[in-house]
């Protein structure tokens, strides 16, 4: 007889889209934090024009990610230089992965789904 565990996923509510501000509020290459439906979300506008949104505090030690430095591949936390890939949120330095949120530019409005 085999006994297997059954783990149930937490109830998930469908994400909703929120307009959090204007694209030009974020200087190129930098990030700014917005509060979206009670959640802190750091939104970044890269030098290549792409937008990315992640959790606001670093999984390693809670550092303010919007104060970090960016390039086309990674975001680097200012506190201990842990780096996270935009593509999947994974840390290149062995920390836990970053939570990411869908973000897009709708006629200059920043739209984040949380």
């Amino acid at each position: 007889m085999s006994v297997s565990e059954l783990t149930v996923a937490a109830p998930v509510t469908a994400p909703t889209a929120h307009v959090v501000g204007r694209v030009e509020e974020i200087p190129p290459g930098e990030g700014r934090t917005f509060v979206v439906a009670g959640t802190q979300v750091a939104v970044f506008r890269l030098r290549n024009g792409s937008l990315h949104a992640t959790q606001a505090s670093c999984p390693h030690a809670g550092g303010p990610l919007a104060d970090g430095q960016t390039d086309v591949d990674v975001l680097v936390c200012p506190l201990h230089q842990y780096a996270y890939r935009w593509s999947d949120g994974a840390s290149t330095s062995g920390a836990a992965a970053l939570r990411r949120f869908p973000v897009r530019d709708r006629d200059g409005d920043l739209v984040v789904e949380v």
Binding site: A9, I26, G31, T33, G62, D67, P78, A83
Partner: protein
Amino acid sequence: MTAILGGRPEGLTALSLGDDEFDPRSRLVVVGNGMAGARFVEEVLERGGGEQFAITVFGDEPHGNYNRILLSPVLAGDQHEDDIVLNSHDWYADNGVRLRAGVRVERIDTAAKLVSADDGTLTPYDHLVLATGSYSFVPPMKGVRTADGGLLPGVYGFRTIDETRALLAETGTCRRAVVMGGGLLGLEAARALQGHGLQVDLVHAMPYLMNAQLDPEAGAILRKSVESLGITVHLDVLAGQVLGEARVEGVLLNDGRRIDTDLLVVAAGVRPHTDVAVRSGLEVERAIVVDDQLRTDDPDIYAIGECAQHRGEVYGLVAPAWEHAKVLADVLTGTDPDAEYHGSRTATKLKVAGVDVAVMGINTPQRDDDEFLVISEPKRGVHLSVVIRDDKLVGATLLGDTRKVAFLTQAFDRGAPLPEERIRLLVDLSDGAEEVGVAELPATTQVCNCNGVTKGAICGAVADGCGSVGEVMDRTRAGKGCGSCKSLVKQIVESAADGNLVEDPAASYYVPGIPLAKPELMAAIRERDLRSVSAVFAALAPGGVDDAKSKMGLTSLLKMIWGVDFLPEKDGEFINDRVHANIQRDGTFSVVPQMKGGVTTPAQLRRIADVAEKYEVPMVKLTGGQRIDLLGVRKEDLPAMWDDLGMPSGYAYGKSFRTVKTCVGSDFCRFGLGDSTQLGIDLETRFQGIESPAKMKMAVVGCPRNCAEAYVKDVGVVAIGNGKWEVYVGGAAGASVRKGDLLATVDSPGAVITLAGRFMQYYRENANWLERTYDFVPRIGLETIQQVLLEDSEGIVADLDAGMQRSIDAYTDPWGQDGKEPATPGQFRPSLPLIDLPLVPVR
């Protein structure tokens, strides 16, 4: 509820598909989620075992996998518990490994191949690995246990994170502690508790400390070092009874003495956890008996780590456990079905209670013709000895000075030939021999004993393109165990990157993202007129791609090259430079106003006090650079604070010229030979805010008594009378301590300012990014620097002066500038708006 170390954030759960019935993979069950068990799983996954096996790991503790070796620094408060997590719960989920944390395995039905656990579940296996480790041994003492068999409140082992947390909590209320056991763990615990301000008594049953590793003489010297820390040591005595009813109140020693205490830590050794194996009918002697393939007497059950007994040996160190993990992973995954483990020669290097210790082989001569060399310096706390047999090193003990450990480990492991003058094994008889040594070490030398990383593996990582010590450590895991080999790893990486044998072009890049060394990079920037960081990436980076970790170095370099003609880009700056303040661990900032030469006025102090009160600054602190630091300032308050202060920035946050410390010199001091205060103020006025490859700290003292520590500054100036001043360069008193080299003696304050400026410009143009002067000066060589700066051997002195002048002309006070008008939208917006900062309570 206590927090789960390496746990998952609330609300996140792994979804198990429950399709075990259809899983074609064989079932691999690991009992034990400690240093051995978790490493074994990693090794299996590394060999592609995730496709072969459905892996389940049972862990007695509810946590993810953490580095048990580092519990001592956590107890000492040197490391946060989050920093010792090796594999979080997420890691297991991400790798498809089922972690049953907080579930204890009770027995194994070897016939039905089922594991039964204390939560009532039965888990089938095809292969089972026991990695149950050890537990703290509590010697029989009257009164140590309560009626229900648990330890008396106030009595702890020191083996798990939960015990460490409990001890940390107790340090808040306890004044006295007794630590039982004078081995490694006991000494570490004693040191950590004493660091929290407790009065510590160490009770050890043997006649000298660390008797398992040291000889009596070395043990005696260690005792002196430990006692000099303020720890009371009682040797050769047992504790027979623990006093106290509801909680520990004291211990009674067998010689009749009583020690009152609020806390008792038992670190009297460990015992292998073998009860599951015993109950399941496996062969157990001192530990679970295994063969050369780590197999027990049941062909599908294996044992690794501290719970395994191989050829009569039971190891209590992490290195053999990790070797077990490798061999067993080779065998089970079929990567090398014939892999065998033949035992470990244990060479240990560690830091115990602040003292460096390295031990290998035997510690005293055993035969008549054994050679035995001892250097004993009890006053310095140094005791070194080697035992040589038939021209081979068979043992070494290093206490208080482990500089020679790399050579000795090599000689011990490989039987390498020994120098005829045996004393060379223990001391360097000529200068610089140590550096040669790193380059000469054979590739097979094991550098990191925790992770079994050889010099060859480190050099290989450098050759594969790892451009920094950190990258090499990430790639090879060297230095990621106890960390004591980090400096050796660094030396080898440096030697590998600079040497002729291993060519690693990346090591010579000024910043990782642009494949050019500094001179070529500077030439290209000038030639192509690149004035912004993005322009440099577009023109010089492979594919025109930007690189986050290069931006700060490029910003600094461009500022130096272009002065006022630099085109600033805020994203090219580190956050400190973006907001002109130093970021703190909670995301607040520290504000240090300029205070030239460390001289202030009552009006200035009043203003600082008013500002500190108005903005509820949690901490006001005097800095080492003779200034006042306002810590815990919210980002959004910065501009208003600067405005209220009305003082320029002290640049305490930048890779830049920082501050000039001074003594009171000839103004008030009876001994002052020169006006050091004024010269310090003049230097700071001239060089304020100048960016550089790494920070530059200065000091000026009015006499060689050196009250402002000029001998250990990047540039230090000392008045020696008759109007003469000595200029020292390359000093340091941080993580490295180095007395500066005397660059020149000059005969006026004006000449000091000129020479200091020339040196700093030469450093700015030639140093590697983040290379401090204490590395730069020895790398270039004092004589070369003297020839260039004093004799103008390269004909560049006029250029150096002009370059420095360009930067001085470009100086503006950033507080005055951005305070009025933000440089970018939201420059001072909070980055963690929902978190109430600062997190530090106001003092």
